[in-house]
């Protein structure tokens, strides 16, 4: 039965026992039957790669898909900072409960307690697993694992591998996956893009893909489908995500009946390298750790915004975070730092190159840290980052202040899932950034890697096994390639791609429209949102979408390697999702976490409305984004009592 009443299916009882008891009560598939069950996994990042490796190892027949040329290149590879785990190796008072507590609070009381507790519980197993795979985490001189504190946490629970934690964790999962490919349990389909979900008799039973090399549109049939396709931050055009990150898989599943939860919850990261010109294709994140020693400022006077920053005297510098938030100063949370950068630039105090008549950058200055600690210490701490900054901008941060500006970084929203990570479509499971489950309205640093791997290694293999155990092969409706559900889905994808390649008045590139959409979303559904702005966006996006389908220009063969066509198909989906984001942001008449509504503010801070909005907003597709129906999953807090954030 499709789960349209939004039953979270979470166990009850003491929170620390829930996952254990749930596993005890789960169904299992007999080993000799596993190889008869086909599991499709879309995505080979931390969530998908770990799930594919583990389910292959268990003996299922796994088919894993990714759009890059190798599973090792999934976007998880780019994560820099680290991964949290409640190991308490530092003996500084950390525990599963504290990580759970911090994550619920960090999510601004908009996540499901049972899921978050399980995440904190599994965090410790992830580190064990990764180390035994050979992930070379940083170590102390005694040979034990090193930790650091991250994103304002009071304990040191972040494990890291230089500035390449995501790379090393992904290479660990990839090696486990490679082992299963060699063993023949996993069949890997790189350079394949999922274009649709096949639903048969109410159950997810396969996907339609386009082979990116020869253009072939094909159906793959399975007993269950897992989506682990990452976040949709590229709806903003410019973001810290990889160029290929897209929403197509989850959006098409949404159109087939999977509810989309909290689409408006996005995280904007304060320390990214600003745009340098019209041609800008993506934004690069600079680690948050820079705010530990760098001081953020802009000129006090508009006349100084083009001046050499070194020539601006101390009294003419506006250290706005230190002045506005004396207690936390430059270390205020991500959303607060981001929003304030926007405000000072709105006030005309922004620095950097002028683009579209504005300057959108603030200084991040290491001068006083260098004076206090010496250049060597700073080099030791941030050498790599400074080098990266110089490579991109040509400026030397030891000599002149860095310039930074916020950029979209992570999407907390995603497909709605229950405790089992099953969506509202039976047999469709969702893991990693693609689901909405654990971060509420705001994600803490170093917790996305943790969630991806918890979902992939430890949750999905169990809950999907339980699903297959309950849906036995002999009770399952047979499905063949020539079944109407399959041929219709294939024909639909072919028709859609053909239409994109043959727009009636081909004029502009897919990027032209993507940039326009990005501007709308950034302006109206970015760091600060108002009802008025959102309404405007909801009016503009459908017009842009209509123009896109009329005027998008795609050249080259559709039945071959064609990156323009791939791009056009992704933009088509972003143009729909973008509208739903704005609809969701408009409906949520409160501020919480990364969702900041200017009408709902207390003392310059986000003002939650627990009475009316302590729920997950899950949207059901009904033909058009504008017709989506809202369903609410109420959230209860038995353990962590909601409080109002304050950083003053």
């Amino acid at each position: 039965m499709a789960n349209t009443e939004l039953k979270s299916n979470e166990p009850t009882g003491p929170i620390e026992d829930r996952w254990r008891l749930h596993k005890q009560n789960s169904d299992l598939v007999a080993p000799h039957n596993r190889r008869k069950r086909t599991v499709i996994i879309v995505g080979s990042g931390l969530a998908g790669g770990a799930a594919a490796a583990t389910m292959g190892e268990l003996g299922y027949k796994v088919k894993c898909f990714c759009f890059q040329d190798s599973p090792r290149r999934a976007h998880s590879i780019a994560a820099q900072g680290g991964i949290n785990a409640a190991k308490n190796y530092q003996n500084d008072g950390d525990s599963v409960y504290r990580l759970f507590y911090d994550t619920v609070k960090g999510g601004d009381f908009r996540s499901r307690e049972s899921n978050v507790y399980r995440l904190a519980e599994l965090s410790v197993n992830i580190i064990d697993q990764a180390v035994s795979q050979g992930v070379p985490f940083a170590r102390e001189y005694g040979g034990l694992l090193a930790n650091r504190s991250f994103g304002g946490a009071l304990v040191s629970r972040t494990f890291y591998a230089r500035g390449q934690t995501g790379q090393q964790l992904l290479l660990g999962a990839y090696s486990a996956l490679a082992r299963q490919i060699e063993a023949g349990t996993v069949e890997m389909f790189p350079r394949h893009s999922m274009q649709d979900l096949i639903v048969h008799e109410g159950k997810a039973r396969g996907i339609v893909t386009r082979n990116l090399i020869n253009g072939k549109v094909e159906a793959h049939i399975a007993d269950v489908v897992i989506l682990a396709t990452g976040g949709y931050g590229n709806v903003f055009f410019l973001s810290t995500n990889a160029m290929g990150s897209n929403c197509t898989a989850i959006w098409q599943a949404h159109k087939r009946g999977a509810f989309f939860a909290n689409p408006c919850y996005t995280q904007i990261h304060p320390t990214c390298i600003p745009r340098s010109g019209e041609y800008q294709s993506k934004l690069t994140l600079m680690s948050e750790s820079l705010r530990n020693d760098g001081r953020v400022w802009v000129p006090r006077n508009k006349e100084d915004v083009t001046k050499d920053p070194k020539k601006i005297p101390e009294e003419d510098r506006y250290y706005y975070l230190e002045e506005r938030y004396p207690k936390f100063g430059n270390l205020v949370p991500r959303d607060v730092a981001s929003r304030n950068a926007m405000y000072v630039c709105d006030d005309g105090l922004g620095v950097g190159p002028e683009l579209d008549g504005e300057r959108r950058a603030v200084y991040l200055d290491f001068k006083s840290a260098i004076e206090r600690l010496g250049e060597d210490t700073i080099r030791e701490r941030y050498g790599n980052l400074f080098e990266m900054y110089e490579r991109i901008t040509g400026d030397d941060p030891y000599k002149t202040p860095m310039m930074i500006y916020p950029a979209t970084h992570y999407t907390m929203g995603g497909l709605w899932v229950d405790y089992n990570l099953q969506s509202t479509i039976d047999g469709l499971f969702v893991g990693g950034e693609a689901n909405f489950s654990d971060h509420g309205a705001n994600r803490l640093g170093a917790s996305a890697l943790m969630q991806g791997l918890a979902d992939g290694y430890f949750v999905l293999p169990f809950t999907v096994g339980d699903y297959l155990g309950r849906n036995r092969l002999k009770d399952q409706a047979p499905l063949e390639q020539d079944d109407k559900a399959v041929t219709d889905a294939v024909a639909g994808v072919e028709a859609k791609l053909k239409a994109l390649a043959n727009a009636p008045e081909p004029t502009h590139s897919p990027d032209y429209f993507h940039k326009k959409l990005g501007n709308i979303i950034w302006k109206y559904c970015g760091m600060a949102r108002t009802a008025e702005g959102l309404k405007k966006a909801i009016e503009e996006i459908p017009k842009l979408r209509e123009q896109f389908h009329r005027e998008v220009k795609v050249t080259g063969d559709t039945d071959g390697f064609n990156q323009t066509l791939v791009k056009a198909a992704r933009v088509a989906d972003f143009l729909e999702l973008g509208e739903l984001m704005c609809i969701d942001a408009l409906a949520r008449e409160e501020s919480c976490g990364g969702h900041f509504r200017e009408e709902h503010v207390i003392d310059m801070e986000a003002k939650r409305d627990d009475e009316h909005f302590q729920h997950v907003a899950a949207w059901e597709h009904q033909g058009e984004p504008s017709a989506a129906a809202l369903h609410k999953e109420p959230l209860e807090f038995e353990y962590v009592k909601p409080t109002q954030r304050s950083y003053k």
Binding site: A53, E57, Q68, D69, S70, R72, R73, H75, I77, A78, K87, Y89, I127, D128, Q129, V131, S132, Q133, G134, P136, F137, R139, Y141, G142, G143, L144, A161, R162, Q168, L171, S175, A176, A178, R179, I181, E182, P190, I213, A242, M243, S276, G277, Y279, Q280, S281, T284, R391, I392, G394, Y457, F458, P461, S509, D511, K553, T555, G560, F561, Q563, T564
Partner: protein, 260 residues
Amino acid sequence: MKTKNLTLHVWRQRGPNDSGDFERYVAKDVNEHMSFLEMLDVVNEDLLENGDEPIAFDHDCREGICGMCGVVVNGYAHGPQERTTACQLHMRQIFELGWDELWIEPWRATSFPVIKDLAVDRGAFDRIIQAGGYISIRTGSARDANETPIPKDVSDAAMDAAECIGCGACVAACPNASASLFTAAKISHLGLLPQGQAERTDRVRKMVGQMDHEGFGSCTNHGECEKACPKGISIDWIARMNRDLLKAMTTSADDIEERD
């Protein structure tokens, strides 16, 4: 802000069986702050506008970490800047060299067939890893991560080798199109760690076997791979791989069985 027009000669090849050739384009008003790939983006937007087919090239993260990008620029794999991937190369570097004309080609190696234009098939790298580039540990069966302390210098050395991004520049730069640097980096990463000892002998034998099977050339110590590597992976790992291989050859599987 400096801008400049550049003449590009870009390798265009419709597919693996097409012979391919250079096409000439003018990149107008190239800005010094653009990345190399952004410069290609702008050229591609122009091509599309004129009804032509854009140049195909692989890329994803554009942060120098995913290893998806990679082209040869005026004879240099990933372009002239040391320790820099094509996506992180910025045009100011090209301007500083005074280059007005760029020859842009795909990785050239028989084991990396061209798919289209600048995009090649690097599946051979995945197959080398599949042959043994892992530690066989079942999910959920790991012991506590701090049970085996690993000396910091050992762990750091493993990390040095593990930084490889699998882009294939080493193969493209090598006169023999050898994949030794890539293969050696993985073998060393795992072989340095205590967890990697049980399979060490078998691993080197299988991975080197697969590398040869894929048709990569052999290493004759040119050192071009190390110079081209965007992550500065050291050629010393190749010597280490060869030592491991020698050991593996002298202790054949039969010997191991006899000892039991």
